[in-house]
């Protein structure tokens, strides 16, 4: 079966980043369709029908999020695009914005129309300055051609679109921290409730969506929500961008239909073509650094022996005991030569560095875990440190203001759960652990 592409279909066309080429290839049709033939509520209805789920990581249904937006009289509403993509292992939004910027802009115009927003923002990670220039150029073109600004397509709808760079903090990808940062303040997550749908940017109702979610609105409006929902499997509809990296023959950004098997994705010729250098698969983090790691025997099959598929449900099969999450689609693959302890330390170091420092469990806990893991990795560990780590992450999880605490705790918990023998080996064979790797973990005997 040929893999259908909705977002990246035209990405190979030379000059697609310019308005004229993009328009010639069917660009901005969704704006015309929405403004000419649909009411805002009809657009929301199509998105609901499509079953599109937030592509930023949490997988919350986008249509439902839109319908929560408060609509008080006389108060402006805002749409904010979360382009602060900074999760280790995830680079799909960057690719999309860099290659086909008009797709995001088109999605934002259509979505802003649906939500009744007259001012919208793209909050982009500060390190993506070159993409900011690409986007600004594309926005200027759209203004020029009458797709942005006053009275779009003569339908009396006004929209201004701005790109705002962040200062380079991972935490600003959390929606309320993003709004704080957008308002020019220190990017600390807000205490919820109130949620952004009620009180967001400058105290007004706001919707914050991921780049890929907003881009997906374009094919949904063009072809109808039902035809989008026909792609995929179960409650995971449509296509998903996966950024594959690690020890793969062909890493990169792939657009897949939901429901593709993980085995096909890793080993298939159309996709990653297997593990590099003829090594064996050791582990896989299927959804960006915050999701639980899976050992090799749980990557392609679930604990109950079924095929593992690329979908929200299948990857989460088995909960946190033997499953993981689709997350943001940062697919990281480890071969047999990689050290799980070192990798866990590396992830934790990232979270310790990126914790905003506002609430105590995350501020102190991530730093503590980082120090303990550093010790374990460098041969100064103690066998009780492993239990201590498990305890610390249990104490962080669920007790923090925003999900960064959970995101820091889950990878550590999963690494200890599945690779405990490797952690113990690091303690018992300190000298050896510095010079060589543990290799594949042992598969538990399933009775």
């Amino acid at each position: 079966m040929k893999n259908r592409k909705l977002l990246l279909e035209n990405v190979h066309i030379p000059g697609i980043e310019t308005f004229d080429v993009y328009r010639k290839n069917g660009g901005y049709r969704s704006v015309e369709k929405a403004l000419n033939t649909m009411t805002p509520d009809e657009v929301v209805e199509e998105v609901k029908k499509s079953g599109l789920r937030g592509r930023g990581g949490a997988g919350f249904p986008t249509g439902m999020k839109w319908s929560f937006l408060a609509k008080p009289e006389g108060v402006p509403r805002y749409l904010v695009c979360n382009a602060d993509e900074s999760e280790p292992g995830t680079f799909k939004d960057r690719y999309l914005m860099e290659k086909i910027p008009h797709l995001l802009i088109e999605g934002m115009i259509t979505s802003s129309y649906a939500l009744g927003a007259n001012t919208s923002y793209i909050y982009i990670r500060g390190e993506f300055m070159y993409i900011l220039h690409i986007l600004e150029k594309a926005i200027a073109e759209a203004y020029d051609k009458g797709f942005l600004g006053k009275n779009i397509l003569g339908k009396g709808y006004d929209l201004d679109l701005f790109v705002v760079p962040g200062g380079g903090a991972y935490i600003c990808g959390e929606e309320t921290a993003l709004l704080e940062s957008l308002e020019g303040k220190r990017g600390n997550p807000r205490i919820k409730p109130p949620f952004p749908a009620v009180k967001g940017l400058w105290g007004c109702p706001t919707v914050v969506n991921n780049v890929e979610s907003l881009a997906a609105v374009v094919p949904i409006v063009n072809d109808g929500g039902d035809s989008y929902a026909a792609i995929g499997i179960g409650r995971s509809t449509g296509t998903k961008l996966i950024s594959a990296c690690g020890n793969l023959v062909k890493p990169g950004v792939y657009e897949i239909e939901m429901g593709l098997s993980v085995e096909e994705f890793i080993y298939g010729d159309d996709y990653c073509k297997g593990i590099a250098n003829n090594k064996k698969l050791k582990a896989c983090v299927p959804g960006g650094s915050s999701v639980p790691i899976l050992p090799h025997y749980l990557v392609t099959k679930t604990a109950s022996g079924e095929d593992r598929l690329m979908s929200y449900e299948s990857l989460a099969d088995g909960g946190f005991v033997s499953g993981s999450m689709l997350g943001s689609g940062g697919f990281i693959v480890f071969d047999e030569d990689q050290c799980i302890v070192r990798n866990t330390w590396n992830f934790t170091r990232f979270y310790a560095h990126e914790s905003c420092g506002q609430c105590s469990p995350c501020r102190e806990g991530t730093g503590w875990m980082e120090k303990v893991l550093h010790r374990l990795e460098n041969g100064h560990g103690n066998i009780r440190d492993i239990d201590l780590l498990a305890e610390i992450n249990k104490k962080i999880e669920g007790n923090t203001i925003c999900p960064l605490g959970d995101a820091a705790a889950w990878p550590v918990a999963a690494a200890i759960r599945h690779f405990r023998d490797e952690f113990e080996w690091h303690v018992t064979n300190k000298d050896e652990a510095i010079t060589r790797n543990y290799g594949l973990s042992k598969e538990p005997l399933i009775a």
């Binding site: 935490i171 409730p193 310790a352 506002q358 806990g365 120090k371 669920g398």
Partner: protein, 319 residues
């Protein structure tokens, strides 16, 4: 709205937070709060010591909330059932927070001016463990002077952001905030500038630990040797209603009047913040009209055995 906290039901107004509802009941059901300060809008939600379990969301939707919630920032719903003291999970969550707060705390109570009236000391006493599991080196900062009257010991700080809100809300020019992030976050002034305005001293009163101390009082006396007296004076800038901490006829320090939750009292519908002149400069008894002894409700060390009226709360603690 009816809310039930630890099996006690109370009627409160819509929009009240769980913590304020518990404070209405009073006593043991009140969760501790290190960062929430009812007189400073915008505080709360950060320290996570006031976590409670919501066993039933509301009458309309009686499902329990999956996570523990911060009681200071979660509004009550009609028919909500909250567990504080009666919940094992809350107890665990709170000891976890205390452990986290203490791993980088210097535990220099013997030389800390806040000892005896420190919220972290109380919390550690109630929820802390006997031994630390933290083997690493503690994060350290050098103490700095912010202004000529205030000392900042960043090592002791728990980053409750209360002083930041004081700086934002009570004072005119903001020169003070949080730098860096994560473990390295610190309270500081912009390039070590002095905090120079008439109400900056209130930062000392709102600090739940010994991070901000009064330089006119540092190392002069332990607080429990002092006699707290209520006093007032005519002041152009503030209400002039204070507590004098005296030894014999000598005034050692002046603070605002704090209630049992460590918050400045409301007098004549206004929060009785005091100005720097009253706090730092009026150490002469002739400038004050002493109106009577001050009852300190919360900190047993200070209230112990001083006055008859203050004995009752300390007995509670022993039990």
């Amino acid at each position: 709205m009816k809310v039930t906290i630890d099996d006690i039901t109370i009627e409160v107004e819509a929009g009240t937070t769980i913590l304020n509802a518990a404070r209405k009941i009073g006593g043991e059901v009140v969760p501790p709060a290190m960062c929430f300060y009812s007189k400073l809008p915008g505080t709360g939600g950060k320290c996570r010591t006031c976590l409670v379990e919501v066993a039933a969301g509301s009458t309309a939707d009686p499902r329990p909330m999956p996570k523990l919630v911060a009681s200071c920032s979660t509004p009550v719903m009609d028919g909500m059932i909250v567990k504080n003291k009666t919940s094992e999970r809350v107890h665990e969550g709170r000891s976890a927070v205390v452990e986290f707060l203490l791993i980088n705390h210097p535990l220099d109570c013997p030389v800390c001016d806040q000892a005896g009236e420190c919220n972290l000391q109380d919390l550690g006493y109630e929820h802390g463990s006997v031994k630390t599991r933290y083997e690493e080196e503690r994060r350290t900062f050098d103490p700095i002077d912010i202004g000529d009257k205030i000392k900042l010991h960043m090592n002791r700080c728990i980053l409750c952001y209360r002083c930041v809100e004081v700086a934002n809300q009570l004072t005119e020019k903001r020169v003070h905030g949080v730098l860096h992030r994560g473990e390295h976050a610190e309270i500081s002034t912009f390039i070590e500038q002095a905090v120079d305005n008439d109400f900056s001293g209130n930062m000392i009163d709102v600090c739940p630990v010994g991070a901000l101390t009064d330089r006119t009082f540092r190392f002069k006396s332990r607080v429990w040797f002092l006699k707290p007296m209520e006093a007032e004076c005519e002041c152009k800038k503030c209400a002039g209603k204070v507590v004098l901490w005296m030894f014999g006829q000598e005034i050692y320090r002046v603070t605002g009047r704090k209630d049992q939750y460590g918050e400045i009292e409301t007098i004549d519908d206004k929060t009785a913040w005091i100005c720097n002149e009253c706090r730092f400069d009026k150490k002469d008894l002739a400038k004050w009209k002493v109106t009577g002894p001050r009852v300190i409700d919360r900190h047993s060390v200070i209230s112990q055995g001083k006055y008859e009226t203050s004995i009752t709360p300390s007995i509670k603690k022993i039990n």
